[in-house]
């Protein structure tokens, strides 16, 4: 039975499941490194997923859907940026409000646009990037099939997430923007006194996180499911936050942590198939990713240190 659980498509599914988490988690990393808590990732992702489908349905072009998802993510995150940076509102409250707002707005607009709640019609989707033939038999053939199955079977945003993780990591540690970002979340006054604009730096970071969370939403609807369902993010934004913490507020760390959560999710789905043979209630498997989140957030896996100025609005003297 183990042989039929551990197959290339288990790992492929892990990569796939990790993608929305990773994109949102990297967004969270960038946002939190600037000193702004972004608990709104969940709502932004949901908004992105919705508008991605709306535009894909209207135009028939999934790529326009992706752009719409990112733009809507940026717009929603601008609300968060304005509230938490300019108005110095409590960032957790602002984020929570946005999550509730996103849930309501997407549900409401669905009724208005399509006349029914629940799930939309299927939209056009993004296709896998490569299409390689399976090899048959032999040792080399098996290896090829594993590589092909795990790494070469994916849709564009899955690869984009990997590239974004690497580029963001590089930018964070090698560029001016990255240095300012890292300093912003630790000691904004120090950044201010050397003449770097704290407000602008934080705004940019929050908007980037919105674009990435929107892209995560596009991945859900336009690559994985093919239609929008109310509240389909189902807590992924929060799991992404956990992945960001587990990844110690670094982009690559966030990606790897998301991979772990993605694997838990993939395994859970896989084990559902064998529920007849394994004498464990299926709800237990469903719990896996969430239990993992709680374990991570409780600091069981080593304590991570958050940016010192996180959640604190900046005020000029």
């Amino acid at each position: 039975m183990l042989g039929s659980i551990i197959t290339p498509d288990l790992f492929a599914a892990a990569l796939r499941m990790a993608t929305p988490l990773a994109l949102a988690a990297i967004g969270g990393t960038i946002c939190e490194r600037s000193g702004v808590v972004n608990i709104a990732l969940e709502g932004i992702m949901l908004t992105g997923a919705f508008f991605g489908t709306v535009v894909a349905l209207a135009t028939g072009n999934p790529w326009l859907g992706v752009i719409a998802a990112m733009v809507s993510g940026v717009i929603v995150s601008a609300i968060h940026a304005f509230a938490s940076i300019n108005l110095r509102a409590d960032q957790v409250v602002s984020g929570t409000a946005i999550n509730i707002l996103a849930l309501g707005v997407t549900g409401f607009m669905m009724e208005r646009l399509y006349g029914h709640p629940g799930t939309t019609d299927p939209s056009a989707m993004l296709r896998p990037v490569f299409k390689f033939a399976m090899a048959d038999g032999g040792f080399l053939g098996t290896i090829w099939n594993w590589i092909n199955g795990i790494f070469l079977s994916h849709t564009p945003i899955v690869y984009m997430a990997i590239i974004i993780a690497i580029v963001a990591q590089w930018a964070m540690y090698k560029t001016r923007w990255g240095l300012h970002l890292r300093a912003l979340g630790e000691h904004p006054r120090a950044v201010d006194t050397v003449g770097v604009n704290v407000f602008r730096g934080r705004w940019v970071a929050v908007l980037i996180s919105g674009a990435l969370a929107g892209l995560a939403g596009a991945n859900l609807t336009l690559e994985q499911v093919g239609s929008f369902t109310e509240n389909m993010t189902n807590g992924r934004g929060f799991i992404a936050l956990a992945a960001n913490i587990f990844g110690r507020w670094t982009p690559v760390g966030s990606y790897l942590a998301s991979l772990l959560f993605g694997f838990a999710d993939a395994l859970q789905i896989k084990l559902q198939i064998f529920r007849g043979q394994i004498d464990i209630p299926p709800q237990f498997f469903l719990m896996l990713p969430y239990v993992l989140t709680v374990v991570v957030l409780a600091g069981v896996v080593g304590r991570a240190v958050a940016p010192a100025a996180i959640g604190k609005p900046y005020e000029k003297e």
Partner: protein
């Protein structure tokens, strides 16, 4: 031609004139000390120069040209650098990253770390400020961090360096190093403004001294033309008694009795290893020692903040060995903690609340769990008057007071409670001469009224002037006891740093005692 000139700078905060037409001239290559009590307006003035505050009047001239400085960035561009009291360093970043922050070398937004390193090294060697460019700030000592701040200013091209109370956070050794660094900077043609309230520093480093009081310049002098007493008079505006007058003490009755006390520190290591002593009513006993030799743990055990692992604490015949802080307060122990921000005050509370904290459960402030605000404010108003706390009213938050006034709040509360035993840990840390004098007088008053005082201080001068008996603590043991007049700074320093060894005979005795205990 002066590098920096201030003409009639005025800065008004709601209700206070922080700077009242202050003028000042700084020449190339000189060290000017800006001396004044806490709240005299020194930092405000320099924050105006550095562009952190905007002035309400007056003119700033750099190289004889009038300038408007609206942001630190502009100040930096004009060659003015400032090292703040609270460092503007990003802890998890490296030394190099902190120094180049905001002015990173590189192209297309990509930082050229090789060049950055080289530049930092260059400046470090040129001014003799050795530091590891790859170390993280959080791993550096405070003295080193300050060095990074100075390097940062130099990297930004500072010709005028403002140091805001630079020695407040340094050990005496680090302070000495800082002074020699400042000297070498001036030799290289820089000009330094040095904000401080410590008289001996002013006398030893500065070329010129400008004294401020209540937002005004009240005098200018040179170290060669004045002395400690003269400076103190200028600064406070009246004669200050730097030495303390007191009569001989008489032991009325033993108030605190510490017997073979053992206390562990946060890491579980034994920090206090078998300490025994007594404190009488009408007596000040001082605990002298280098920081980290078990003083903090010993105090915490006495005031109920830490459980001793062995030994006994008696207060007037009552066993308080395992008393909680609450029980210990009720038994008559008052505590002026060494860190007033962390333990002495609730900064977000107003003065009235802070002034009765700890007694808030007891009448007249509360009966059956219900607070009586009128009783609280009545006491607060009385204490504000009695202890000369400078504040518009008791409504003010503790965080809005100057350090000296915050300490007065703590002292007012702890002494106002009328305790049997006053434990004062570094009661004058960070205070200016006027406030120090005040706190010392309050402590002496307690002694005169027959209360027991246990003083812990790193300032030997304070220990020598106040104490009737001095216990020298080293590595968790009391290695020597002196009576007043028996010791001087040198002898104390010798024993504090382990000069007398850990006293073999004494240790032998303690071990025997432990064995005897084990046998029993």
């Amino acid at each position: 031609m002066p590098v920096l000139e201030l003409r009639e700078i005025t800065k008004v905060f709601p209700g206070v004139v922080a700077n009242d037409r202050v003028s000042l001239v700084l020449e190339r290559g000189e060290i000017v000390a800006l001396l004044g009590e806490n709240g005299a307006g020194k930092s405000t003035l320099m924050n105006v120069v550095y562009g952190l505050l905007s002035s309400d009047g007056g003119q700033v001239l750099v190289d004889d040209k009038p300038v408007k400085i609206k942001s630190p960035r502009q100040a930096i561009d004009l060659g003015i650098g400032m090292v703040h009291q609270h460092f503007m360093l990003v802890e998890p970043l490296t030394v190099t990253e902190n120094i180049v922050l905001g002015r990173e070398p590189g192209r297309f937004g990509v930082i050229d770390f090789t060049t950055a390193h080289k530049k930092v090294q260059e400046i470090a060697t040129r001014y003799g400020l050795k530091v590891d460019p790859d170390a993280r700030i959080m791993d550096l000592s405070v003295g080193m961090q300050q060095r990074v701040e100075i390097l940062k200013a130099l990297y930004q091209g500072a010709r005028v360096l403002i140091l805001d109370e630079p020695t407040a956070v340094l050990t005496p050794q680090e302070a000495k190093e800082l002074f020699s660094v400042v000297r070498s900077l001036v030799d290289e043609g820089l000009s330094v403004v040095f904000i401080t309230h410590k008289l001996e520093e002013v006398m030893s480093v500065s070329d010129r001294i400008i004294v401020m009081r209540d937002g005004r310049v009240v005098g200018e002098t040179k170290p060669s033309e004045t002395d400690d007493v003269g400076l103190a008079r200028m600064m406070v505006g009246r004669d200050v008694v730097l030495s303390v007058e007191k009569g001989p003490s008489e032991c009325a009755a033993e108030v605190l009795e510490v017997t073979d006390l053992h206390v562990k520190d946060d890491r579980g290591l034994e920090a206090v290893r078998g300490v025994s002593f007594t404190v009488c009513g009408g007596e000040i006993v001082a605990l002298a020692g280098v920081s980290g030799n078990g003083q903090s743990e010993l105090i915490e055990a006495i005031v109920g903040l830490r459980r001793p692992v062995g030994g006994r604490l008696m207060l007037k015949g009552v066993d308080i060995t395992h008393a909680s802080a609450r029980v210990s307060i009720e038994a008559g122990v008052s505590h002026i903690p060494e860190d007033r921000h962390r333990r002495g005050l609730v900064l977000e509370f107003d003065l009235a609340e802070n002034l009765i904290l700890g007694d808030h459960r007891m009448p007249p402030y509360a009966t059956r769990g219900i607070m009586h605000p009128s009783a609280v404010t009545a006491t607060a108003e009385k204490r504000i008057a009695d202890y000369d706390i400078r504040t518009p009213s008791w409504h003010v938050l503790a965080s809005n007071l100057s350090g000296g006034n915050q300490q007065k709040v703590v002292v007012a509360r702890e002494i106002g409670r009328n305790p049997e035993l006053l434990v004062a840990a570094q009661p004058t840390r960070g205070l200016d001469v006027g406030a120090i004098e005040f706190v010392h007088r309050q402590i002496l008053k307690e002694r005169e009224s027959g209360k027991a005082v246990l003083l812990v201080s790193l300032e030997l001068e304070e220990v020598l002037s106040l104490a009737d008996r001095i216990l020298v603590i080293y590595e968790g043991r009391i290695v020597r006891e002196f009576t007043a007049g028996e010791a001087d700074e040198e002898t104390l320093g010798y024993f504090m740093t382990g000069g007398g060894g850990t006293k073999l005979e004494d240790e032998g005795r303690t071990e025997h005692a432990e064995m005897a205990e084990g046998d029993a």
